[in-house]
């Protein structure tokens, strides 16, 4: 197990990079996923179709394929995802601003893929709001947007929070794939580098990698349990 101590900096660096990737992707997924969910329930049919098509495509494609299209399809289309080089954000997440675009590609792929699941989690939350709420809001003259903002979404979020948490936990685990599409130095990539290039024994290295992911996912899971228990009490 000495490899964990000898290469602590590698594990910590890998953890930090994976963490950054997950934070950015989670933000992206929540924003895009909410938008798609709103599209799916909107009264305008073409928007509903787009939302449904989005969820169908991304939910049913393997993440490897989505990653592949981000890493090799976007450059073929002439895009290096430079729109993600937001000045303020880049100073915190320094990987965003470097010339090699693969970190940005990974964020895009992970965010778009997870957004499909976020959309469905939120939609399930919206379905849990009793229809009378929306009808009453409409009856007092609220527009569709106001209805969503003040009546439906605040209640939907509450019942969507646990499924959303599961979606984000799945996303953190999925982020391991980024190491295979050009993101150098994340947790999974670091593990592979330690075992194959440097010849460290496999099992302790991957125990270290697992610890890295567990540090991110277990607290999130515990937090969700607490939220759920609180809600259960409140509902009684």
């Amino acid at each position: 197990m000495s490899v964990l101590v000898d290469h602590l900096d590698v594990f910590v660096g890998g953890f930090w990079l994976t963490f950054q990737l997950c934070i950015l992707s989670a933000i992206g997924a929540l924003v895009v996923g909410t938008l798609v969910a709103v599209m799916r329930i909107s009264p305008i049919p073409p928007l509903r179709w787009i939302g449904t098509a989005y969820v169908t495509v991304f939910r049913n494609s393997p993440l490897t394929i989505v990653m592949f299209f981000a890493a090799f399809g976007l450059p073929a289309l002439g895009s290096n995802a430079d729109f993600l080089r937001v000045p303020g954000l880049s100073s915190v997440f320094s990987r965003l601003s470097i010339d090699l675009p693969y970190f940005r590609f990974a964020v895009i792929a992970l965010a778009l893929y997870t957004a499909a699941f976020v959309c469905e989690a939120i939609r399930s939350g919206i379905n849990a709001v009793s229809p009378g709420q929306a009808e009453a809001a409409r009856a007092i003259g609220l527009t569709f947007g106001q209805n969503l903002r003040y009546v439906v979404l605040p209640q939907a979020w509450k019942s969507a929070i646990v499924p959303l948490g599961s979606v984000i936990i799945a996303m953190i685990k999925n982020s391991a794939l980024a190491g295979f599409f050009g993101v150098v130095g994340d947790l999974s990539n670091s593990g592979i580098n330690l075992t194959s290039a440097l010849g460290e024994p496999i099992i302790p290295v991957f125990i270290g990698v697992s610890i890295g992911y567990l540090v991110m996912t277990v607290p999130l899971g515990m937090l969700l349990d607490r939220v759920e228990r609180r809600r259960a009490v409140a509902a009684r």
Binding site: G13, D99, L100, F181, V184, G185, N193, S196
Partner: protein, 296 residues
């Protein structure tokens, strides 16, 4: 009906060829068979000879050295070396069993006895010697840099020190690790180095201009240059020495010595040159000098 007949004829022809091929092999010296070679009792050589079977760990994705084709059999220089060693043990080429030994698990397959030898573009180094033993080297590869043909701004690994050139290699590989010290900031290579799980992705990234260079052992790059129809070229000189060895189980000195002696024998009797010409020689026609084996 007609199709069946054609298939039948083809099958007969194939059978005839196979038989002819076997006959040819026999003439070359395979007819010594199992019984005629004797080895020291209790040695690995004796065990393998008695079992009439050897398991060779090799790569299945390395053109020129070990590549599994559509016929489901790996082919390449490493595979030929494996066959020659089997032959010296009195084992026929069709009794050699291959298992895939990608870079990450090469030590494991030897330690766990899943392979008797590993011939898999396996660079000899001290770290690996702690877990297994190496016979050889049988070939000295070297790390090289491949760029787009129209690019003359990269002349060698030092061109990456300025920090504006990007390079691609394969994760978990020795070349990927080697190139780090030539980068502007070796401690965080992410700004200049990208690693994929296969070289083809690097080549795609080079074509798409996401990276400016691909680096790994010369033999691998030569394969891509040969296939690229003038799109890529090698630049500068080889800047490392990668002595490829044959992995054997740790502590099996007698077996290691046997493989070493086999290598020295084939350097002079033409089998080494023939193995090269039939395989990696298609990318690099200069037959290498068999390097002196290292009896550490």
């Amino acid at each position: 009906m007609r199709i069946t007949r054609v298939a039948a004829v083809a099958a007969v022809a194939a059978l005839a060829l196979t038989v002819a091929a076997c006959g040819g092999d026999g003439g070359d010296g395979d007819d010594t068979g199992s019984g005629s070679k004797t080895f020291e009792a209790g040695s690995t050589m004796e065990r393998l000879n008695k079992a009439q079977k050897i398991i060779v760990g090799t790569k299945f994705d390395q053109p020129g050295f070990g590549l599994k084709g559509l016929d489901n059999k790996p082919a390449g220089f490493d595979v030929e070396i494996g066959k020659i060693i089997a032959d010296e043990l009195g084992i026929a080429a069709d009794k050699v069993e291959y298992i895939e030994a990608p870079s990450a698990v090469r030590e494991e397959v030897l330690e766990q006895g899943k392979a008797d030898i590993v011939v898999a573009t396996y660079t000899i180094n001290d770290k690996r010697k702690e877990r297994i033993d190496f016979a050889g080297p049988y070939y000295i590869a070297g790390q090289h840099i491949m760029v787009r043909s129209d690019d003359s701004s990269i002349t060698g690994p030092d061109s990456f020190k300025a920090g504006d050139k990007k390079v691609c290699s394969v994760q978990g590989s020795t070349p990927g690790d080697n190139i780090k010290k030539y980068l502007a900031n070796p401690a965080s290579p992410g700004a200049q180095l990208v690693l994929f799980d296969g070289y083809q992705k690097c080549v795609d990234a080079l074509t798409n201009k996401q990276v400016d260079a691909v680096t790994t052992d010369n033999v691998i790059l030569l394969g891509y240059v040969a296939k690229s129809e003038g799109k890529f070229k090698l630049t500068g000189e080889k800047f490392t020495e990668e002595p490829y060895g044959i992995g054997v189980k740790k502590g099996d000195t007698a077996f290691r010595e046997f493989v070493n002696a086999t290598l020295e024998k084939i350097y002079t009797d033409g089998r080494y040159a023939k193995a090269w010409q039939d395989t990696a020689g298609k990318f690099d026609s200069t037959v290498p000098q068999g390097p002196a084996v290292n009896r550490y």
